[in-house]
């Protein structure tokens, strides 16, 4: 696996970058996290991003919070983990509580409801785009391009289409996929 080009200089920089990306994350932080950490700051390659995200998704806990902890820990141990976590949560927490106080007054305005729908639609598009961007990385997967593509599509259909609980899909499909990778790796 190739290494990323750059690294954060200090826990303080982690805090600032994570605060900024969290505040940009309307309707989900994950696509912004990929944009900022991989494409802009270049702290991680796409492969490293998938690796951390994979771990964060099989473990309990909010995926992006787990991701922040792991990214922070990678360079500065628990100090980095705390800095990234605080950056991810503190400023958005203040915003969301202020919004909760405001919400009651403006919820019935049609333009506000419409704007929320529009932002929700773009949020869905951004997550899909991120999945497309990460797909070429599967070509270098030891499973092989087509088997790993098949696993990805099966997971998407089971969780997105059939709405099966993600935990069970991860356990069954993930177990099979890891076993297959184990068999192919020597």
């Amino acid at each position: 696996m190739s290494d990323a080009e750059r690294a954060p200089a200090s826990p303080r920089e982690l805090f600032v970058v994570f605060t900024r990306l969290a505040l940009m994350g309307f309707g989900g932080v994950l696509p912004i996290a990929q944009h900022v950490l991989v494409e802009r700051e270049r702290w991680l390659t796409n492969e490293q991003f998938i690796e951390l995200l994979s771990l964060g998704q099989v473990l309990p806990g909010p995926n992006v919070v787990n991701l922040a902890l792991m990214v922070g820990d990678r360079w500065f141990g628990w100090r980095g983990a705390l800095a990234a976590l605080a950056g991810m949560l503190l400023a958005p927490l203040a915003v969301v509580i202020a919004l909760a106080a405001l919400y009651a007054q403006f919820a019935s305005v049609p333009a506000v409801a419409g704007a929320l729908r529009g932002m929700g639609a773009v949020a869905a598009g951004l997550v899909l785009a991120m999945a497309f961007k990460l797909m070429p990385a599967l070509g270098r997967n030891p499973l092989g391009r087509w088997p790993s593509m098949l696993v990805a599509l099966a997971a998407a259909a089971a969780v997105g289409g059939l709405r099966w609980p993600a935990a069970w899909v991860m356990l069954a499909l993930g177990g099979a996929s890891v076993a297959l990778a184990w068999a192919r790796l020597r």
């Binding site: 932080v29 998704q57 899909l128 993600a166």
Partner: protein, 178 residues
């Protein structure tokens, strides 16, 4: 907002510690159980308040886990927010860091590489599923679906700052196009 006894506070904290360990696939997966506890069992808020708490956190910037903060705030103000957020974060965060250090130390082994390789396609599949689930309520609205596809295409082809697309979506929606 409610007045909580010491036993209530302890119960609230304990319940969110437990929810944390159940939150595989993201904090949002615990919403049904959380709703059962704060609305059904404790009667600390109405169904509508709970649903609005989730919707609000989704629309605001930041991780979706912040819906927990809004629920906690609606249960018992700022202290309620603190207790529920700390409760939902401590067990899962500790586990995430331990697992990351463990796997990083074993990344070169056959088992470690098999786990990384085997889970990568699943991660991409879950992203597709998330986009699917987020877009599903928009099915009846061609404008909104067009917005989903257009933003997916633009973001896929170009290294765009997503904030521009979100603002465009808000504008289109506010004008009644979504």
């Amino acid at each position: 907002m409610n007045t909580l006894t010491a036993a209530d506070w302890l119960g609230l904290f304990g319940h969110f510690l437990m929810l944390s360990m159940l939150s595989i696939g993201g904090a949002i997966t615990t919403a049904p159980e959380m709703q059962r506890y704060v609305v059904g069992q404790q009667g600390w808020m109405s169904d509508e308040q709970f649903t609005a708490s989730v919707a609000l956190a989704q629309a605001a910037p930041g991780p979706n886990v912040l819906f927990v903060a809004v629920v906690g705030y609606n249960v018992a103000g700022l202290l309620g927010m603190l207790v529920t957020m700390v409760g939902i974060l401590i067990p899962s965060s500790t586990l995430a860091l331990a697992a990351m250090r463990w796997s990083h130390a074993r990344r070169a082994s056959r088992g470690g590489r098999a786990v990384v390789a085997g889970l990568a396609p699943l991660t991409i599949g879950l992203l597709l599923a998330t986009g699917w689930v987020l877009a599903a309520p928009l099915q009846g609205a061609p404008g909104a679906i067009a917005l989903v596809l257009a933003s997916a295409f633009v973001m896929w082809r170009w290294r765009q700052n997503p904030l521009w697309l979100i603002s465009a979506g808000a504008l289109v929606g506010a004008l009644g196009g979504a």
